[in-house]
Symmetry: D2
Subunit: 403 residues, 4 copies
């Protein structure tokens, strides 16, 4: 039992911590001032400061740290990357600055493991170079996507081609002008067993038939310049080589990306919660009412203590999930992965709610706290709602007692 | 003990319920489509459908029902108006359609009770006719406004004039092109005892020195076309007749408006919670996953039951507060008024959170649920944060045991 | 809408309040000192002070107030009795002192409505005179009694007789030396539809075949001298006249007793919560740590405020349920009755938990707080667990949306 | 970052797990049947099965594992002992069977570190041999002991003697017939600074002036044959050699025992929570209502998942506290130690509450669940109430931001 970071992780954490504090956080207002907000996503542009920071981060080695593959990435395993991911959660800019933002991370992992040489050359290389971005089209508007058997979109093999049809939404990042490809998941063979029915297909954004219908608001915000797209795939015809790993292997490919992706999300949520708690404490010490700092009024210290205890526990559980994923593989980490997916977003929501409250009227108008509130709320739904993950934890718990 | 509505309240509730359902709710999308959203509040316009609905509502007698004064308003007491206010909470449009929206309601009450004949003629009449709107400038950005002794803005008597200086924020409604006057609260005589230090002044929006600095976002939303303004009062000179009730009586005037205003807020919150629960139930029955409607999965029924129990309790407490205000006056209703100000917004926040969760990805993009989430969150801060009201409830409770 | 007590209720409440404060609470230590605690229930005796208090209460008219029947009881409806029941919750002795304790109350109501003249003469009269006590045997150890279709015990008609077989538990009061009869519920005709399958039978305690197996501990306490019995009914033969209302009418009879019984339980729980909060506040004001009374430390005021708000809401909901029961009957009060059965015990549990915490080491050893903790916990299970009542509230809520 | 147990810890955990499962748990009913329950603590006797199990455990090496000292104990550090302590939490008998029960553990640690040779010879040796037991007299009835400066009892140096006066309570274990000494904490020099005011004194139980006033009930239970005594120290005269470490060093000695003691308490609480969850799951799978196992009804799976997530997080936090204590010492583990003292008992209380609820009527009568409910509740007060530990966590958190 050793709760210390490995030397390698410690080095990256220190580097990342300093970079986020000194370079990224101060650049946030610059980024926001350069941002074009518009209901018309075609007008979105990338704030120049972002590309500057990316170049800088890459230069100091804070680049593609999420990728455990030694050849393509930094070669950190989950337990070593997790604390770095937490640091990136302290700024909304940091993940992309380090080329570690979803869904590119998951897409890159998929291509490293299952991509053809051609796919790697054409799509993975520029993705890892930070030159292009990508999307992941799985969730569908008409059905409960928490139940994968509901999926309606198809990618049928017709001769040499694969033909995509269906409607997807919450394809995050698809509004980004640099987004050049999507990974699409659909049904290839509805008659196959439920683990061999789906396929993944690599779809260039400019393929005929790919129609962005709208960018979805997240509690009223469009998240420019990334956006969350609703997309119609209308008879999109691609060569068979567009399959990733081949037809019928969608479920297998999907499995592999889930665990690490959830750890990244949760560690970033924890980093965000730390930032919210920091703001809460600073406000509680700096603001005076009835002759005392807020920190000395009413139950505010209990609130602070509860936040600290919740964050520390959520972090440990997430680190344990990362360790299990490294040591035992996806199957051995099932309970922990589902558990953190419930715990971390709820902790973030609670800490942010408390931070807003302590800020009073200022909390309502504060852009960062508002953004975190929406992010926390969305995370309790995205990537499987709380209910599905609680169900999984309970199922595995009860399974211990069944013969 | 009789929990039935009076005949008069029942008649208004039925009328309002039908009007909101048949006329107001269907007009919501029209209103939204007519709305000009802009970061520049000078470009905001009133959607024409609103004025049409107002005329219609006035014609059927759904007008100024909040005003207990028989001469100027409908003459309903708090217990009879409260259930009507709940109905108006079911649509964000309804309060204004019935000319019952804050802060006009509080301002109108103040002018009825304390206004000079001239003030009534020039400002109250058009306000009650729905021709103009108004704002209330009390909260200040630099200090904790939950502690009234912190107030910094001044309204000094200089000869025949009163001169206003200071910075205010959260002056809701000040972005509305129809907003023609503000009621400003400031310090007239810092040396007086704490109950005779402040005054209220009626300030025409176009008075020289009134400078709107910006509209504050509420979790990123500007609430067009009303807006929440930060305003600089820079040597605003007005005749002494601009005082309401006379210098030094600000505290007294403020006291009277608090109780009814909180009851209105809370009953609207309860109406909003009912709408959220309605949407939750409809979704839970209509959406299928894993072969069952969501209503039959996991803990969703517990969630629904908890919402129903919380709403029903919050409503009863608010109605009791209204009854106490009518029967015992402000002082006799102190505990209840503070209690509902904690309870109702928290219930709304909880019900809306549950409704969003049951809607999954759709819940994140749903404009109504998103709006309600922000409204609930803001209400826990506006008009006194939870902490201040909990403190009041505790103080009164402990006072029972002190000699 | 009128939240004032009726004149009649007010009179009884005042009388009861004074009697409990001046006579009953001071007698608690006397009662406890006279009590024989023993694992052998046959040694239990009734503390003499109890019978003295009963005589006194009866003399001043605080007697059988629970009984709405004008002929047999005080003729108070539910809304008028409920506030009196709350007062009786302030002392564990008070309900019996006023001859208003369960399960006698429910049994008496059943006999008033459905009993034969003979049953009334022989059992109801001494019961209402406070000379004997009674039990109610419904719940069974082997099955989930929350699902009435699980009931296994039988009361078969054989010729002129009814023969009882089966095992029951949680027959409260059966350890009392004065307990002279039980009302037994069992299956008469398993083939009948589910509403006509069961019957109620009046069983003298000394009927051959009635075997008390043990007294069940409630979290380790036997509740001397009442006790909660597990009873074997082994070929208990009774004349057919022992049926209450006749065979097959058990469901109908049961329905009628549930609503009022739950209101009594919940109002007593609220009275108990008030007493716990009173103790909490007194301790918070009287105990000093770190130089301040506990009431001024940390989040204790928030705790007090939350207790006050929860109690007040639970009371209002319970009063509304009583009013609905009076005005609309059992069917119209279904949601409220189930709701209060969840809400009130949970509020009591929470308030008692807080009171214990504020008492620190003294709270662990305090007999009253310990008793209330057990009572609250038991109430969340007895008379239908939280889960069943939440399920009912949800079912009725969802039913609004089904066609 | 390595979440695996050390080889040594794994060996002890496996051994302890098997021993508890195969030998200790089956002996629980034997122990209970041999137990003499009486309000007169002088009649208490040690069930013979306990001494048999102790001999057996000692023979297989499950003995004094708590003691990090290599000479006197097993030499496990905190992180290695903690998982063993968890196992002992699965049976109320196990801690004593392994000679690892409080307050002997803390007393032994104190004597190992600070005891004179004579004290070690006479008291520590038989204690570690399991021949005698001991008590710790710190808390006082008249004052808030969470604030150490409140301590009133004195141990004054008078010539060659130390003289003890004062009243103590919650001296756990003092009712045990084998209890032969107490460690008493009192004020030696009220004028000294707050860290040098107190002393610890070793008091033989039979010293003249040591008067046990009563055994305190814990929610009505006396915890035979250990008991929690209220003790009067009335001019107890001892030779100066009775001081532990010398006069004025009480604070220093107390500091050292707190950290490990809290880790032991918390890990046992976690083991107890695991046992409660096990019972919850078994009941949920085995009990049928409405045609389904309880595990498939309503929100029961959510309850199970929430328990699992809470337990896993509490365990990780406690293990981290143990690791910090080993690596960083008391000062470096302050936040974690206080945090677990809040978290673990609350988790236990919540899991036990859920287990009781799922057991319905059986849950109320179940002796184990009832015992755990009381234990959980007591743990939130004993060894510093939640409030004090939350306050410590908050203070350390806020200290990060103060200059």
């Amino acid at each position: 039992m050793d709760f210390a970071l490995s030397e390698r992780a410690r080095r990256y954490v220190d580097l990342a911590e300093r970079f986020v504090r000194e370079r990224v956080v101060p650049a946030e207002p610059v980024y926001l001032s350069q941002l074009v907000r518009s209901e018309d996503w075609r007008r979105w542009r990338i704030p120049p400061v972002l590309e500057e920071l990316k170049a800088e981060a890459r230069a100091v080695g804070l680049w593609n740290l999420f990728l455990p593959d030694e050849e393509w990435g930094a070669g950190l395993d989950n337990r070593d990357y997790a604390p770095v991911a937490e640091i990136t959660g302290r700024s909304f800019l940091a993940p992309e600055v380090f080329n570690c933002s979803a869904p590119d991370t998951g897409n890159a992992e998929v291509l490293v493991k299952y991509g053809s040489d051609e796919q790697k050359k054409r799509w993975l290389e520029p993705l890892l170079a930070g030159e292009i971005r990508s999307g992941f089209s799985m969730t569908e508007p008409a059905v409960a996507s928490s139940d994968a058997t509901n999926m309606k979109a198809t990618c049928e093999v017709r001769g040499d081609e694969v033909v995509l049809n269906g409607q997807k939404w919450w394809t995050s990042g698809a509004g980004d002008p640099r987004c050049k490809f999507l990974i699409f998941m659909g049904v290839t063979d509805a008659a196959a067993d439920r683990h061999h029915r789906h396929s993944m297909v690599l779809v260039p954004m400019d393929a005929p038939g790919v129609k962005i219908l709208r960018m979805l608001p997240v509690f009223g915000h469009l998240d420019e310049p990334h956006g969350h797209a609703e997309i119609l795939f209308d008879e999109v015809r691609l060569p068979r080589s567009a399959f990733i790993a081949g037809p019928g292997r969608g479920f297998e490919v999907a499995q592999g990306r889930l665990g690490p992706g959830r750890i990244h999300h949760c560690m970033r949520a924890i980093g965000a919660a730390e930032r919210a708690l920091e703001r809460l404490c600073q406000r509680a010490l700096g603001r005076v009412a009835f002759g005392k700092p807020l920190a000395s009024l009413g139950g505010n210290r209990d609130v602070i203590a509860d936040c600290r205890m919740a964050i520390d526990q959520a972090r440990l559980l997430t680190l344990k999930a990362a360790w299990e994923l490294d040591e035992l593989g996806t199957f051995g980490a099932l309970t922990s992965i589902s558990a953190i997916k419930v715990v971390a977003p709820n902790v973030l929501q609670r800490v942010v709610d408390a931070a807003i409250q302590v800020h009073g009227g200022e909390g309502m108008a504060d852009p960062e706290l508002g953004r975190l509130m929406g992010m926390a709320r969305a995370l309790r739904i995205a990537d499987g709602p709380d209910e599905v993950h609680r169900g999984m934890v309970a199922r595995l718990e009860l399974a211990k007692y069944k013969r």
